[in-house]
């Protein structure tokens, strides 16, 4: 784009003109804002108003536009000018709707509006139209790690959408757990009996697919690069490695069954007649191969009675075993009991459960199990005795409220799924569990070899609305490695993960950000000559986007980056910025406001509000006419993580009386969309007290608070309380020194 031509448009609609002097705002834009074109309009968002702006862009070659009207969250369809740089001053929600309508406050309300115009004008001059990451990454192949049900599904679905796929499976054949099942729980009606797993058909489809390449007996020796340009070294049996270039990765590394030897009280490892669900599948498959009924492992005797113990080593509160429920086990036990009932209704099968969990259509399957004569009893199993060829399951029958016992030839322990999620990068390697976990991806990332884990070793997303947020752009977990699940869900999950992988390569090829700033073309630019190699950016990036080169300089991988600006906030020397969001674009706004002197009794409070939750809450405060102090000036930020302490010190030096930061909730149930942003801000601000003392300022002059998007009433209260506090401690002594 050629040289900058700025324009300011001031809307008079929605009561703005009735409440404020738009003329004066126009003057401010012209005189102080130095806008080259300044226009007022009675109804800026209507076709005529928008056409006026378009004409200026076309005829006057306007490149930078500041619109003073409603919130940037409103009228986005009308004010859509992708070809120019745009910012908006929030005069409607932010001023006239949040301020009372009365003459005595007219003056301070007008000051508020004027300042927002000043800030908008200051900001727009510091913004550039983002061009998208320069070194675009164009590889669109999808790497699928794991050749089980999830992996094969992800591979086939991606290939069917037209994408090249590379599958890496550590075993010598495809199929994973699914291939080790005799039958599976039905995924569609009728839900009356065990169904075919369909795995062989899937294997055939994958192996026969022209766009799918398969590596068997292979593991990932190393993964470097970024979305659109991953370099993956695949180690074969011999140890020799081949390198594949791919654009995105689906990690479907599956799960390992919980070791029944850890359950001796339930007979685990003490008798061949006590097996886990996988063990039973094996027995059934062997029997089927030989065309005979399942025999008792210990002596090949007849199996007349089978007992299924649910939640074995699961839902455990003691901390010894798995704390979670694996979801599929109830249906799986019903299915396995049906194996026996379908073969010989005379065989006794009992399922001992505490909560039977057969959600959705599983209820039909449960009914069918009962109908086939499977006995269900609500009981807590205390012990499985394994002396002799018949086992005795001792339990408390919770319905009959008495001790019960079942004699069984075969006892099946419904143990849980342990995710194959590799190394837990959040604890130092030396502190890793004695059984040193083997890394799955062997990422060369500065922040560790594998995907970050959420809890219980699961690589699940923390976000309910966004299940594919793995904190490593372009790498998506699918299937039981992400969360315990049954086969039907794994298929859905893998298909969804495949889409996210495809989306990642498409975004990377256009130098575009992925969720939550989807489509953002800006990207972090670093002035390395100023860098002090402090490594804060590389350590604090929530998405592991920044590596370090041998000289310990940061290496930015744009296509891994989510544009949250945490690095920008972290940088003590302010060498990191975005084209349209930088220390300067915010700093200049802070400096732009008209600062009344200390006798004016007009304090100024800077509010830095997270644009994801706090800013919408403030908008809605306006929509609901929740009045707040006219002394605040609100600046939306991408995330509190992007707040650089220089803004705070600049503000205080510039005579601002208080600085308030509004971010998302942090802690275990954090709601920050960039994972650690609000927490980091909180941490950084805790360090700022010394600076304040040096300046001879009260620590209350800087505060941070956690705000939810629904806090439209609370934000107003928070502001007013803080304004009162500032009034209490008095005006800043720094005024006039700047």
């Amino acid at each position: 784009m050629s040289e900058m031509k700025t324009a300011a448009y001031i809307c008079q609609g929605c009561g703005i003109a009735e409440r404020l002097s738009t003329k004066q705002m126009a003057v401010v834009a012209q005189k102080e804002g130095k806008m080259q074109v300044v226009r007022e309009h009675a109804f800026l968002c209507n076709t005529e108003g928008v056409q006026m702006i378009r004409d200026d862009i076309a005829r006057e070659a306007v490149t930078h536009v500041m619109i003073a009207a409603c919130s940037r969250r409103a009228k986005t369809e009308a004010f859509h000018f992708p070809e120019i740089t745009l910012t908006r001053a929030n005069i409607r929600e932010g001023v006239i709707w949040s301020q009372p309508e009365s003459d005595e406050v007219q003056e301070i309300t007008q000051e508020m509006a004027d300042d927002y115009v000043r800030m908008g004008c200051a900001e727009i001059k510091k913004m550039k139209l983002p061009q998208g990451a320069p070194n675009k990454a164009r590889n669109k192949r999808i790497l699928v790690v794991g050749g089980g049900m999830s992996g094969l599904t992800a591979a086939l679905e991606s290939a069917e959408a037209g994408y090249e796929v590379v599958v890496v499976e550590k075993q010598k054949e495809l199929g994973g757990w699914a291939a080790r099942l005799w039958k599976c729980v039905p995924a569609k009606s009728p839900y009356i009996g065990p169904a075919d797993t369909g795995i062989s058909a899937l294997i055939a489809a994958v192996t026969g697919h022209p766009r799918i390449k398969i590596h068997l007996n292979a593991t990932i020796a190393q993964t470097g690069g970024a979305p659109g340009r991953f370099q993956v070294q695949i180690a074969g049996e011999s140890g020799a490695t081949t390198t594949e270039e791919v654009g995105a990765i689906v990690q479907a590394s599956g799960f390992t069954g919980y070791d029944i030897n850890k359950l001796p009280e339930l007979g685990g490892g003490k008798s061949p007649n006590v097996v886990d669900q996988a063990g039973l599948e094996q027995l059934v498959i062997e029997a089927a191969k030989q065309g005979r009924p399942v025999r008792r492992p210990s002596d090949g005797g007849k199996v007349r009675s089978v007992a299924f113990v649910q939640c074995a080593g699961q839902r455990d509160g003691s901390g010894k075993h798995l704390p979670y429920c694996s979801g599929h086990c109830c249906n799986t036990s019903i299915k396995q009991a049906m194996y026996f009932k379908d073969a010989n209704p005379g065989t006794d099968t009992a399922v001992i459960y505490t909560d039977l969990r057969t959600p959705g259509m599983g209820e039909d399957f449960y009914r069918s199990g009962q109908n086939k004569g499977v006995t269900f009893t609500k009981g807590a199993v205390s012990e499985v005795m394994t002396d002799g060829d018949t086992c005795t399951v001792k339990f408390k029958d919770l319905i009959l409220d008495e001790e019960g016992s079942i004699e069984a030839d075969l006892v099946v322990l419904a143990t849980g799924q342990v995710p194959n999620s590799g190394v837990n990068i959040d604890i130092p390697e030396e502190e890793q569990a004695q059984a040193r976990p083997v890394s799955i991806l062997n990422l060369t990332y500065r922040q560790g070899k594998d995907l970050p884990q959420l809890k219980h070793g699961l690589t699940d997303s923390h976000f309910i609305c966004f299940p594919y947020e793995t904190r490593r752009t372009g790498i998506y977990a699918a299937g039981p490695v992400r969360r315990p699940m049954d086969m039907a869900q794994a298929v859905e999950d893998a298909t969804g993960a495949a889409l996210k992988a495809i989306q990642a390569v498409e975004n990377a090829s256009l130098g575009r950000a992925a969720h939550p700033r989807s489509g953002d073309l800006s990207f972090p630019i670093v002035r390395l000559e100023g860098c002090t190699q402090c490594k804060r950016c590389t350590v604090e990036c929530p998405f592991g986007a920044i590596d370090e080169d041998e000289k310990r300089y940061p290496v930015f991988n744009e296509s891994r980056c989510r544009r949250c600006g945490t690095c920008m906030g972290a940088c003590p020397v302010r060498v990191i910025s975005f084209e349209n969001y930088s220390p300067d674009s915010i700093g200049s706004q802070i400096k732009a406001v008209d600062m009344p002197d200390e006798f004016s009794e007009k304090p100024r409070i800077l509010v830095l509000a997270c644009e994801n939750d706090a800013y919408p809450a403030l908008d809605m405060a306006g929509m609901q006419r929740n009045v707040y102090s006219a002394f605040v000036r609100i600046i939306p930020v991408r995330c509190l993580g992007s707040v650089n302490t220089v803004w705070i010190t600049d503000a205080l030096n510039g005579g601002w009386d208080g600085v308030m930061m509004m971010g998302c909730r942090h802690g275990d149930d954090y709601q920050c969309h960039f994972i650690k942003g609000s927490e980091l801000a909180n941490y950084r601000m805790s360090k700022i007290d010394d600076t304040l003392k040096q300046l001879g300022l009260e620590t209350e002059r800087v505060t941070t608070c956690q705000v939810a998007i629904t806090d439209s009433a609370r934000v107003a209260q928070l502001i007013n309380d803080y304004a009162a506090k500032i009034a209490e401690i008095g005006m800043s002594p720094m005024k006039g020194f700047a």
Binding site: G346, D348, Q370, G373, T377, I399, L400, G404, I406, E407
Partner: protein, 203 residues
């Protein structure tokens, strides 16, 4: 295996399925307890229906058949219309009671059992119920003196009904009857035979 070892095996369940009216439904209970909570005589059940079903599945044969719980069923059908699994609970209760009685395992002095037998005897004797005999029969069921006592206790009612013309002394001598009594009896005899045949095809 003795009864202790066949706990939670299907032996007794199968016995119930073969011999008890609607017994094949017992296995379908999911232990929600809505039946137990719906019964107007609930407090008088040592084991409410859903518990009886669990006991059947747990193989507690004697405990079930000796119980007088199922004799508490008033045939109000509350449980039936509320059961989320649509079990015909009223019929199953009647069936269990009848089967216990058939095996001679029902509690000996169970008034409803006595009344039930008496009613059937009474109504099949002539094809129609003889209310006076039925009432007296009930009183005198466990001994003459007891009958006098109960009769005396209820005399108000008896006399009241007489006065109201709703209990008729003349029924003692010649009450309501079916003309074709012979046919009725033959029919019932045959029905009994057929039921035997169905239960034990061998014999």
């Amino acid at each position: 295996m003795n009864e202790l070892n066949i706990k939670y095996h299907n032996n007794f369940l199968m016995e119930v399925e073969e011999n008890v009216e609607e017994g094949k439904w017992v296995k379908m209970c999911m232990q929600c307890g809505v039946c137990s909570g719906s019964c107007p005589f609930g407090p008088h059940w040592a084991h409410p229906p859903q518990e009886l079903f669990m006991m059947v599945r747990a193989g507690k044969r004697a405990d079930v058949l000796n119980s007088d719980s199922m004799w508490m069923c008033t045939s109000c059908y509350n449980c039936v219309v509320r059961c989320p699994r649509k079990l015909p609970i009223t019929q199953i209760m009647h069936g269990l009671a009848a089967y216990a009685n058939h095996l001679g395992m029902a509690p000996k002095t169970q008034p409803t059992r006595d009344f039930s037998l008496l009613f059937w005897k009474n109504c099949t004797r002539t094809g129609r119920v003889n209310e006076l005999r039925l009432t007296l029969g009930l009183y005198f069921n466990d001994g003459f003196m007891a009958g006098i006592r109960k009769g005396w206790a209820m005399r108000g009612i008896g006399l009241g009904l007489m006065k109201a013309g709703r209990l008729n002394a003349f029924e003692l001598f010649k009450g309501h009857v079916c003309k074709d009594r012979k046919g009725v009896h033959a029919m019932l005899k045959k029905a009994a035979e057929i039921e035997q045949r169905r239960k034990h095809p061998a014999s």
